[in-house]
């Protein structure tokens, strides 16, 4: 029975604990032993993306130390946090060989959730059921930076009773971009507007994402515009029966 460590990420921890619980249930059903190190915090992405690299270092060091306590895969329900570990940490420690080694060791065994299911476990059918139309927003980080697209779509294709409809411009950014959404609210708003229009065109009541950041952003926009559609993380769909 494989053992994995769950890096739940700060957004899921704080805003969407249900995503974390769904992942634990899914992995356990598959016979995977899940561990959750309590000392984990944030991956450091917000400050790293804002250019505050000096301040990010201790955050990254904490994450590395926490997950060094056990070997085996580290599962992250967010492509952008996975990217932070896989690309951001080596960048952050490029001038520090000791930490760079440790960062690369962690990076090599870090997987985004759907990547782990499909590419490592070889599972695409989780016996999930979700009645009605769903549509999928391909979040930028997992799609472009990790090349994950086939994986979430394969998993969704096997959800019983779900009708997966294509979201127009489904690979276009929703305008979240972390600190971007605060630094450039006008640009963020325009991009969100396009995304919400496309969700309406898709006629699906449920938008599936693989990133808590996009969820926080798009769901917040739907509420502000008083739209009925809702946003869920793919783990919640795959856990549903």
């Amino acid at each position: 029975m494989p053992t994995v460590q769950l890096f739940v990420t700060c957004l899921v921890d704080t805003f969407y604990p249900e995503t974390g619980h769904a992942i634990v249930r899914i992995l356990r059903r598959l016979g995977v032993n899940v561990e959750f190190p309590q000392a984990q915090t944030c991956c450091g992405q917000p400050s790293f993306n804002a250019g505050l690299w000096k301040e990010t270092r201790p955050v990254a060091e904490n994450t590395i130390q926490v997950f060094e306590s056990a070997p085996g895969p580290v599962i992250v329900p967010s492509g952008s946090c996975a990217i932070m570990i896989k690309h951001g940490y080596p960048e952050l420690f490029s001038d520090d060989p000791e930490w760079l080694d440790r960062a690369q060791e962690l990076s090599a065994r870090t997987y985004e959730f759907t990547e782990y299911l499909v590419d490592v476990l070889g599972v695409t059918d989780l016996g999930a059921r979700w009645p009605g139309k769903i549509t999928y927003h391909a979040s930028c980080h997992p799609t472009r930076h990790l090349g994950l697209n086939r994986q979430p779509l394969a998993l969704l294709a096997n959800v019983q009773d779900a009708e997966l409809v294509t979201l127009p411009e489904y690979e276009e950014c929703c305008g979240f971009g972390g600190v971007f959404s605060i630094k450039h609210p006008e640009l963020s708003a325009e991009m969100l507007k396009r995304k919400i229009t496309n969700i309406e065109i898709s006629q699906a009541p449920t938008l599936v994402v693989t990133e808590a950041g996009c969820r926080l952003h798009i769901a917040g926009g739907l509420i502000r515009q008083k739209k009925p559609q809702r946003v869920v993380h793919i783990a919640e769909v795959l856990d549903h029966r």
Binding site: D13, R28, A50, R144, E171, H184, P185, A189, E190
Partner: protein, 667 residues
């Protein structure tokens, strides 16, 4: 500091004409690029090769550059090096002064060059008394409007046809029209005067080839060819990093650049310049202007850029604000906009432009579109971290947001603090509504509500779940990992294709471009061409001296005047060609003694006589022909001249010929 920038962004977003123009650009260009890339089965592999070539060049820039300079000088072109913008301007003024002593009112015909924008070429030469006229249609339009280019490939991308119509009505005195061919024709006739009378032509350089000393200049309208070949003095401006080792590499890059820029297989005119023609004087100014410093910085990879503009077309931010939205802290428009500009502008011109890198969600569309696979998101993050070659001495005051992020980082580096903060947030959430309507000034509150944090964070509940839920979960068998698909098998290239297959392909490609192919036997050639000229009532042609079959004599016997030099009144030009390229429908036309390149450029109709055995399958094959480097200049013509500078609408016949007729001769 970013106030001006945010203000500018709001202004751009609120401009409905601009928004319509930018949406149209994104829609058309993205589809065109994808189609062009999909048509090359080994696109992904070419991209990686191109990346490796550019990496090699930048890693060995000193060697490649000195080899290139030695070759160019050996070919008879005068090379000048400028360490910065001021020196480049001074050199250009000196060259002008030496070529035309005592004249301070020269007419300068200028082709498109981003380097000239970077160094402020036009204002500098104009303030010295010269008249500089931009001749690319898009550049011409924005020069009339006194603006900077809004895109590195399509300078007038921000305008709609009506605006151009009003502009031409006001500045050129033509009746108002929004008919794009009419507008293009008006620009053509105005600019034709400029070309034929210009004292100096100025162009950019797309690629310099070290092995052969080739200056490769790629254009569509024909204006670039006019600037490089008609005036007595030609000055080419190039960034020192725009080099490739060999002509084979050039073939690779020419397969990527036009496809990425405009979706064309090849641009209409690909010039390969080696030597000055006739009595012409040719100068090359090679510009550093911060490139050496960028090369020694962690932004080095940005020097791989080949200026195709595809990152602008796919960028969701560019789509909202266009090129003029990218301004520095002092309000100046960045010479290079978009994702590439948000790295290269602060890289070359300093921290005034660092704020551009903040206007980015790191979505990665730019990296995906880049034909040389530059990791733009990585470089944008480095700019954000202040890793530019010339960082400001003073640290800026952290903004409220940065201050907040510093506190958050500090908490995140201490697990106990994090847990405590998490509890506190959970407690507070009990008294909050489901969604918070934050005020606009928070940024977030402008367009969305904020979800309430969960009362019980994941970590709080996890322990409980851990102890109670383990048993009710049942293990399932894990299936074996599936092997990944092998991916699309690279299609076999059409090698060893028979002569007929080559002819058919050539025919098809050229017709698609708007040219025509006349297949003919050698004994019928003369009469066919005479008939063609008669039908069009053409009595005067510009022609090569050494056309096959004593062609010139036959024309003269039939009362057709034959000149070797161009003139505004000659309507048809007759040339041969070294070879035709089947896969792109192109003609490779060398210049030289008795073979004026202007015959394929200045007249409105171009007739080319090509032996049907002289077809090659690919550009790569063509560039290996020894004649290419022997000719003073060679042009690869791919269809009649064209532009899409107004609303991306294709218009045939700008400065070069409107019609291209290829007489393919058998036996």
């Amino acid at each position: 500091m970013t106030l001006l920038f945010n203000q500018k962004i709001r202004q751009q977003i609120a401009d409905p004409q601009l928004q319509a123009a930018l949406d149209a650009n994104a829609d058309r260009r993205i589809a065109a690029r994808q189609n062009a890339a999909n048509a090359l089965p080994d696109w992904a592999e070419r991209r990686q090769r191109a990346h490796a070539v550019r990496m090699h060049v930048i890693d060995h820039l000193d060697e490649v550059l000195s080899l290139f300079i030695a070759k160019v000088e050996q070919n008879g072109i005068q090379v000048h090096r400028a360490k910065d913008a001021a020196e480049a301007i001074r050199l250009a003024l000196e060259i002008s002064h030496q070529a035309y002593p005592g004249r301070s009112n020269l007419l300068i015909a200028k082709g498109k060059s981003m380097v000239s924008e970077e160094i402020g070429f036009n204002p500098a030469l104009q303030s010295a008394g010269h008249r500089v006229v931009e001749t690319d249609l898009g550049e011409f339009i924005i020069q009339l409007r006194n603006e900077k280019p809004a895109h590195i490939i399509t300078p007038a991308v921000h305008l709609r046809r009506k605006q151009v119509g009003e502009l031409f009505h006001e500045k050129l005195g033509i009746p108002f029209t929004d008919d794009i061919p009419t507008l293009t024709a008006a620009a053509r006739s105005t600019l034709r005067e400029v070309f034929l009378n210009a004292d100096i032509g100025v162009s950019g350089v797309n690629f310099g080839v070290a092995q052969s000393g080739t200056l490769c200049v790629v254009t569509n309208e024909g204006n670039g060819r006019m600037c490089t070949s008609i005036p007595r003095v030609h000055i080419a401006l190039m960034g020192m990093e725009r080099l490739l080792p060999s002509l084979d590499d050039l073939a690779l890059f020419l397969s990527l650049l036009p496809r990425s820029a405009t979706g064309q297989n090849l641009s209409v005119y690909t010039q390969l310049i080696h030597q000055p023609e006739n009595s012409q004087e040719k100068h090359l100014i090679i510009l550093d202007n911060g490139r050496s410093s960028v090369r020694n910085s962690s932004l080095q990879e940005i020097l791989y850029c080949i200026r195709c503009g595809s990152c602008l077309n796919v960028c969701p931010i560019f789509r909202e604000i266009g090129g003029h939205g990218y301004i520095g802290a002092n309000g100046a428009v960045a010479p290079y906009p978009g994702p590439i500009g948000s790295v290269i502008s602060p890289g070359l011109l300093g921290s005034n432009f660092s704020q551009l890198a903040q206007a980015c969600t790191l979505c990665g569309a730019c990296k995906e579109a880049c034909p040389v696979d530059i990791d733009l998101p990585k470089l944008l993050l480095r700019v954000r971290a202040g890793k530019i070659p010339d960082p400001p001495a003073e640290k800026h005051q952290p903004s409220k947001l940065e201050y907040g992020l510093k506190i958050y980082s500090s908490i995140s580096s201490k697990p106990r603090m994090f847990k405590l903060a998490s509890r506190f947030v959970g407690l507070a959430s009990n008294i909050l509504p489901g969604y918070l309507h934050l005020p606009t000034l928070t940024g977030w509150g402008l367009s969305k509500d904020l979800a309430r944090p969960a009362a019980r964070s994941f970590r709080v509940d996890y322990r409980e779940e851990d102890s109670k839920s383990k048993d009710e979960d049942f293990p399932q068998q894990i299936s074996r990992p599936k092997k990944r698909d092998a991916g699309p098998v690279a299609q076999n290239r059409e090698e060893n294709a028979g002569k007929n297959a080559l002819i058919e392909r050539f025919d098809l490609e050229l017709i698609t471009l708007g040219g025509s192919v006349h297949r003919i036997r050698s004994q019928e050639l003369q009469s066919a061409i005479l008939r063609f000229l008669n039908d069009r009532e053409i009595q005067h042609v510009q022609s090569w001296n050494d056309l096959p079959l004593k062609f010139g004599d036959a024309l003269r016997q039939n009362d057709i005047e034959v000149s070797s030099v161009h003139s505004a009144s000659i309507r048809a030009g007759i040339t041969g060609a070294l070879v035709g390229i089947a896969e792109t429908g192109s003609l490779v036309i060398p210049g030289g003694e008795g073979r004026p390149l202007s015959a394929s450029l200045v007249p409105e109709i171009h007739l080319a006589i090509v032996d049907s055995t002289c077809l090659v399958s690919s550009l790569e094959e063509a560039l290996r022909l020894p004649e290419i480097v022997k000719a003073p200049a060679t042009v690869i013509v791919t269809g009649p001249s064209r532009t899409a500078d107004i609303e991306m609408t294709l218009t045939i016949g700008v400065h070069g010929p409107k019609e291209l007729h290829v007489f393919l001769v058998d036996g």
